[in-house]
């Protein structure tokens, strides 16, 4: 791959340029030095067997054979020091606070648009903006209860936010299962290190969901998880979380709305639901308000929502906040609502909707990463330095045809972490998705998150749908 010649050597999180290990990684390095490729292979197999038994599967759309392929797991943990984590956590809380204030504003009076900080077209004509949410007052003004913020690291100091997943972020089950498997396969490591636990996540999530129940909820709020069903790629996670939270895993057909109150059908009759942790996209939620052909949703749900009888987590219409064009305004959004400088950096972004920016992007395609504004999962994306000319030309045409739909960013030198490969240990690029729980009482961030790793040498695409794997993420308690 030619990018090696172009890009500076990436920051390796374990070893500095002189080969010494960085803070936090001393023990990992010692452990890795003591293992042979064979012994690592054994451990890897052991971990894989555990995953298979537990049943973590990841369905990739359009790939029937791989319907239940296991997402690859790398047994070398990714380590963050407490100091690094504290800074991250403060930045994450700031970011999600700003996201919520932004959403409450644009579905209310739109002050940030009136102030001319963001073009109002970008918001009001955004496909993920939902006019149906206008003027609806949500409990505690919280729109995003669960956020998964994708971060990448470029050096010892800097973390960049790559994406704010404010709709239905997934992956938290891997965070929990990865830790579980690591503790079983490497009890010795856990005896030597003091690692912040992540296992409290389900409890924190339930507390968050309960805290945002509507006022009309009688007594202890009833919470349920709404899934599109077993065919959904994240179904395993839905059922895993429902189980850990001790709440019902419901499909649309399990629910019904009667006089603007949501009920679920049980063997003992109808039971009221107050909070829906929904993992179903806006479009499918209610065939009487959105896509009329949706059979996955609940007819009348939006009316119950507008009547204040149910909380949806996340709220409808949060997608406008994780749109990549809106993303590019996040520093301004943080400043506008919080009067503070953003703690987490944004990747510089060219918005192709702006003429000058578009020209710059078209001239520099070979250096840039181009993304669809509303794309996700690593689809519809061009990595300029890795693409050949023909691919870049095709993409240039796409950009010219619909510039509003694209943004471009410089190719970041993503940090690498040691990873088990066939030949032993080698550095591979990683990102990090911590999960932020934004409740009415407080903000909860379980220390750690999901580290995704691009298993192919040199690859920057960490998405599991495109050959990425995951790692356990350790925040050292020291």
């Amino acid at each position: 791959m030619n990018s090696k010649g172009i890009m500076p050597a990436p920051f390796d999180e374990m070893s500095s340029a002189d080969g010494n290990s960085r803070p936090g990684y001393e023990l990992i390095k010692r452990w890795l030095d003591s293992e042979t490729p064979e012994s690592l292979g054994h451990r890897r197999l052991e971990a894989e067997l555990l995953f298979r038994r537990i049943g973590i599967t990841f369905a990739v759309y359009g790939d029937e054979e791989a319907e239940e392929r296991i997402i690859p797991f790398d047994i070398v943990p990714r380590v963050l020091t407490k100091t690094e984590w504290r800074k991250l956590a403060t930045g994450l809380e700031q970011r999600v606070t700003a996201l919520n204030m932004f959403l409450a504003d644009i579905y209310g009076t739109g002050e940030i648009l009136k102030a001319g900080i963001i073009p109002s077209d970008l918001v009001y004509r955004n496909p993920y903006f939902r006019p149906e949410m206008m003027g609806l007052k949500l409990p505690h003004d919280i729109y995003v209860q669960i956020a998964g913020i994708d971060l990448v690291r470029t050096d010892a100091e800097d973390f960049y936010v790559l994406e704010d997943n404010a709709r239905t972020p997934s992956g938290v089950s891997y965070m929990l299962e990865n830790r579980e498997v690591m503790m079983r396969v490497f009890p010795d490591l856990f005896a030597e290190y003091r690692i912040d636990p992540v296992e409290t996540y389900p409890e924190e999530l339930l507390a968050t969901l309960t805290s945002v129940a509507p006022n009309s909820a009688p007594g202890e709020p009833a919470v349920a998880l709404l899934t599109p069903g077993p065919l959904n790629s994240a179904y395993y996670e839905h059922s895993f979380l429902a189980d850990k939270l001790g709440i019902d895993l419901v499909e649309g057909s399990d629910l019904l709305v009667r006089d603007n109150v949501v009920f679920m059908r049980t063997t003992e009759g109808l039971k009221r639901v107050d909070v829906l942790y929904r993992r179903l996209d806006d479009d499918f939620l209610d065939p009487l308000t959105f896509l009329p052909t949706s059979v996955l949703g609940v007819p009348g749900l939006m009316n119950a929502y507008r009547a204040g009888n149910i909380t949806l987590a996340n709220a409808v219409g949060t997608g406008v906040a994780d749109d990549k064009a809106v993303y590019s305004y996040m520093p301004e959004i943080v400043r506008f609502y919080l009067g503070a400088e953003p703690i987490l950096k944004n990747v510089p972004t060219w918005r192709c909707r702006e003429k000058d920016a578009c020209a710059h992007v078209l001239d520099n395609l070979h250096d840039l990463v181009v993304k669809e504004v509303a794309g996700s999962g690593g689809y519809g994306m061009l990595i300029g330095p890795a693409a050949d000319k023909a691919t870049r030309d095709i993409f240039a045409e796409k950009i010219k045809a619909d510039p509003d739909n694209f943004i471009a960013q410089p190719t970041l030198a993503l940090s690498t972490c040691p990873t088990v490969v066939d030949a032993g240990i080698a550095p591979r690029h990683v990102d990090l998705r911590p999960f932020v729980l934004y409740g009415a009482d407080k903000v909860r961030i379980v220390p750690g998150g999901l580290t995704r790793v691009a298993l192919k040498e040199g690859s920057l695409v960490v998405n599991s749908s495109q050959g990425g794997g995951t790692k356990d993420t350790w925040v050292l308690d020291a």
Partner: protein, 273 residues
Amino acid sequence: MRLKIRHETSYVYGTPATRAIQILRLTPRGHDSQFVVNWRIDVDQDCRLDASRDPFGNAVQSFTVEGPLDGLTIVAEGVVETQDNSGIVHGQAERLPLPVYLRDTPLTRASPGIRALAEQASAAAGPDTLPILYAIMNGIRDRLDFIVNVTDSGTTAIDAFSHGHGVCQDFSHIFIAAARHIGLPARYVSGYLFHTEMLDGQAAGHAWAEVLVDDLGWVAFDPANGIAATDSYVRVAVGLDYLGAAPIRGTRYGGADETMEVKIMVNETARAG
């Protein structure tokens, strides 16, 4: 005009339904040239009508009924007084920022053909907005035949335009798509039309569109008839497209063999007293 309106929608279920839920946008609201003298909605089953307003300013009623149900009938009726104001609508509930009315929806997306029509009309008719809109309407009427029962409520502007026929809904969708394409905020209107040739009843409500015209505000055009709305038009609900303004959106649980019949009477009535 003083219009007496009765809009009856009846469902019959061959196999009884276990329950039904419906969202109604069947209640007109007043504006400067439309005064709602009285209006009521009746459902022939025991239920509670929950009234609310949607963000577009429409009056919404929702209800659920528990079965077994052999059928369901909803009647909306009342008296509305209208005045001709050359289609200009003032004094209505306006809640949404204007760029919202430039949004694409699946039903109102513009095809290259629709975009070309809008651009040609815009180029040919000069700088003023009104002539452009008339040119678009005429362009659509040249292109489309008014034929009932060929398109349905799910037909998109793109499909209707390429097939070359449709009903008032399709004409309106294409018109809206064209207007938005040249940067004019536009919306769909569902309502009633008084028509001297249809005094015995109509099998469907009427649909037209409103476009925001500089200086004038929202102006109502009836692309199916090629005119601005008059005092024969009773405005009931607006939305980005048919789905947002549909008189009834509902779901039935269980049951089968559903038939639906709509009967609408719009008649002139004398002033009381």
